[in-house]
């Protein structure tokens, strides 16, 4: 394999990782804002958050991606393709992750909130010091699933000619003709990256649980189900 092709593969790998990491970070922001807003007392806030999660869970990610790349320029904005990819992925995964946030916050025993009220914490203090630290542990396993879904979704950007790993694979196939090998190699590549992320998330989960004085069952493949 020539050096030129290797460069494409490296670029593709880098872009895939960038898309995943930044998509995850931005998606996390969306998820927390929407997830916490769903539990707000104000109906308007709850409603807006619900619209966001329902719409972006109902919209296929690929269509969203095409929309950002084709429709947005109509309104005068030019989006950098990579940024469009990150945005589309983040909006999509954020809607799913928002449900995770909401469920985790609800799973904190009500007595904890009552104790925080009894000690006269402000609502913000209650959230930061008591609710969120306990909710985060419950969020990490489902977040791991969200992250893997995000990683898989990054392959969609190859269809709008953003040079990610899958796009590099297409180039490789076109120039070497080794179809089966290239695609199988791609699958292995994604699988390894997914494994890496899963390990990192397991570590995070263990750290978070330890801060609550809890222990986490060992094992790598104990993943929770993915919510559709």
């Amino acid at each position: 394999m020539s050096a030129g092709l290797m460069a494409y593969v490296w670029e593709g790998l880098l872009n895939t990782l960038l898309l995943t990491v930044f998509g995850a970070l931005l998606g996390l922001v969306f998820a927390f804002v929407a997830g916490l807003a769903r539990s707000s007392e104000r109906k308007v806030v709850r409603g807006i958050a619900m619209v966001y999660t329902e719409v972006f869970r109902g919209f296929p990610a690929l269509v969203l991606l095409f929309a950002l790349i084709f429709i947005v320029p109509q309104f005068g904005f030019q989006l950098n393709p990579l940024f469009a990819g990150v945005l589309a992925l983040a909006l999509n995964i954020g809607a799913y992750a928002a449900e995770v946030v909401r469920g985790a916050v609800r799973s904190v025993p009500p007595g904890q909130l009552e104790a925080a009220i009894a000690l006269n914490f402000t609502p913000l203090q209650r959230l930061r010091k008591v609710i969120l630290p306990q909710a985060i542990v419950a969020m990490i396993p489902p977040f791991t699933n969200n992250l893997i879904e995000l990683l898989k979704a990054t392959s969609l950007v190859s269809l709008v000619y953003i040079s990610d790993l899958t796009f590099a694979g297409q180039l490789l196939r076109a120039s070497t003709g080794e179809t089966a090998l290239v695609f199988f190699g791609l699958l292995v590549g994604y699988g390894v990256i997914a494994l890496g992320f899963t390990v990192v998330m397991k570590l995070l989960e263990r750290m978070a649980a330890r801060s609550l004085g809890r222990s986490v069952p060992k094992g790598l493949f104990g993943r929770a189900e993915v919510a559709a």
Partner: protein, 219 residues
């Protein structure tokens, strides 16, 4: 703003054609996912490590890797080994295989959710393994997981746009084709998005009804 709503409306016939294709792929894929998922679930529960471990590894592998790449893989590789299938069938198969890895997890949790005492009672009554499964375990496991299974139809439907990569003309593919003729892409893509959203919301509403109907385990 250059957006012309009448063009969105004009795109609707193409969208309906694409919708039929998408629903077709979803249905076939879903049947495959339901059946294959059950098979996977059984194999992973096998006492024989030589069966359960490789199947488990395969299921995790397929679940963790992109559907798009799997679509490409089957599209290009199947002809090489002599299997000729239309892109639509290939796509439906790949979709079904991918989601079988999800449904197998759902089945597993349903089966694990049946209390241990049920197995013990079946043993005490000397029921055969087959009878135990068909008359005791599965009737209790399946209703429990119907809500989760219903949600996966919607997920599959939302993944059908990826089939355009292997030349299947569903809604998004139809929109792009329309766009390349008229050089106006935005309106057809918007039309595709709206139709996908509406159908997905409709399916979600139906799933909610199914959940309510089957959500309670009938004792």
């Amino acid at each position: 703003m250059n957006f012309q709503w009448n063009l969105v409306w004009d795109a609707v016939p193409t969208m309906l054609d694409g919708l039929v294709v998408a629903l077709f792929a979803t249905c076939i894929g879903y049947v495959i996912a339901l059946v294959l998922g059950l098979v996977f679930a059984f194999l992973r529960r096998s006492g024989n490590r030589w069966v359960s471990a490789p199947v488990g590894f395969l299921v995790e592998f397929i679940r963790s890797t992109p559907l798009l790449v799997q679509l490409f893989f089957f599209f290009y590789v199947l002809p090489l080994i002599g299997i000729s299938a239309s892109p639509l069938v290939t796509g439906a198969f790949a979709l079904g295989l991918h989601y079988a890895t999800y449904t197998s997890e759902v089945y597993r949790s349903g089966i694990d959710g049946v209390p241990a005492g049920q197995w013990e009672a079946a043993t005490a009554l000397n029921l055969s393994t087959r009878r135990t499964w068909t008359n005791v375990i599965l009737p209790q496991a399946i209703p429990r997981v119907i809500p989760a299974l219903a949600n996966y139809v919607i997920a599959m439907f939302k993944d059908t746009p990826q089939l355009l990569a292997i030349t299947v003309v569903e809604m998004l593919g139809g929109a792009i084709a329309l766009g390349s003729e008229t050089f106006r892409y935005s309106e057809p893509i918007a039309a595709a998005g709206i139709v996908y959203l509406l159908v997905a919301l409709l399916m979600a509403w139906l799933a909610r009804i199914v959940e309510r109907r089957f959500g309670q385990v009938r004792v």
